[in-house]
């Protein structure tokens, strides 16, 4: 698991000044992290790429309104991607049978994506739990960073993270996909309340 790259204050100032170089540098730093986040939220590579592009376009439009340091800018970008993903999820729920091959339905496993079984289980989590799991275990964000991205506090993120991991292990069990013994143990503890 890679640690998130740091966005320094000079880069933030360049973004505020709408510098081409600053945007290119920020893209190099954040693009893969944002793509992984969006892909984990949507399980759709094309839509995830569009969400990342949308976030950078929104930043280009609103660059002069950005305040705070590099960490705030990172959180701003993740929030932008998250809102785009949530809009996409809602749109799919409203029109689940949209005839397009770019948007896979949520019940189908795409073999071209890495570890489709885990992604299948991820998609069964709530949007909030899915965001926390992806940010923490795929991107490698700290609890404080996740709290800033989700607009909540550290304790709430930690508690939700524990529940989300348990739920994820349980979902892996329920769909009877191959999983390791530790995941089975966590799932059993969840169903029996830790007494068995």
């Amino acid at each position: 698991m890679s640690r998130p790259s740091i966005v320094d204050d000079d880069l933030v100032n360049g973004i505020r000044a709408r510098s081409d170089e600053a945007f290119a540098a920020l893209y190099r730093i954040l693009a893969s992290d944002l793509l992984s986040f969006a892909n984990g939220m949507l399980r759709d590579r094309g839509a995830a790429e569009d969400a990342v592009q949308q976030a950078f376009l929104e930043l280009a439009r609103a660059a002069h309104t950005i305040t705070g340091d590099g960490r705030s800018l990172r959180a701003w970008m993740y929030r932008s991607v998250r809102f785009t993903c949530l809009d996409e999820v809602r749109r799919r729920k409203r029109r689940p049978e949209e005839p397009t091959d770019r948007l896979p339905d949520t019940g189908r496993v795409d073999p071209s994506l890495p570890d489709p079984t885990v992604q299948e289980a991820l998609m069964r989590l709530s949007d909030r739990h899915r965001a926390i799991v992806v940010l923490r275990h795929v991107i490698g964000c700290s609890v404080d960073e996740i709290a800033e991205i989700l607009g909540t506090n550290r304790t709430a993120v930690y508690a939700a993270s524990v529940r989300a991991e348990r739920r994820l292990a349980k979902e892996l069990t329920n769909v009877e996909y191959p999983f390791d013994a530790a995941s089975q143990q966590v799932a059993d503890q969840d169903t029996t309340g830790g007494t068995g």
Binding site: R18, Y27, A60, V186
Partner: protein, 217 residues
Amino acid sequence: MKATLHQRLADLRVDMPAKVADRHAAEIDAELMHPGPVTPPRRLRRRWILPVVVAAALLIPAAAVAAESTTPGDFLYPVKRTTEWVRSIVDSTINAEHRVDELEIVIQRKSSIEEVTDRLIDAEQSVERSDAPRRLTDRIDIARDEIERHYGVHPRDIDSGVQDRSSQDRNREPSDTAVNLSSTTTEPPHADSPRDPSPTSTTEPSSDRGDRGDRDN
């Protein structure tokens, strides 16, 4: 062993393909060169609708109630006329009754002869247009007597004013009507108002009107 699940999650990380990155870079450069308008988030864009609907739901009935007791010239009087127009769809006498009420109020206030004349014309036209009961016609007759007693204007003169207003342009200035009416008075209520030098009322009062005049004397 729990790290195995975490490792599987970490393996979900993907890298941005160079081809896609080039396409994104071109889009971002174009946006930086020609920035589009900054639009507020969708949730903020529609935030004004609910407060406006709630405010309208509260203010419109409140304005209608507050306008019930208004008289011509008041700020909310147009609101009253609008609500009456709506109510008159159901009950045609409401409009006439309120016009007669207003006529009596302006007479009691001893308003100017122009104002009283306008209200009298409105009241008579409203009564004519609706299926007003007999009592409204009687109230107008009483009001005419009051006008004659307080303003010294003979009802026949007011009749001619009504015909002028109803048959000719409705948008004439109130002072034009006052010219016709005040030309026969001995003490015009507004001596400084412009007047038509030629009296318009030359006919003698009929016997029934004359009787009323005698009774007042």
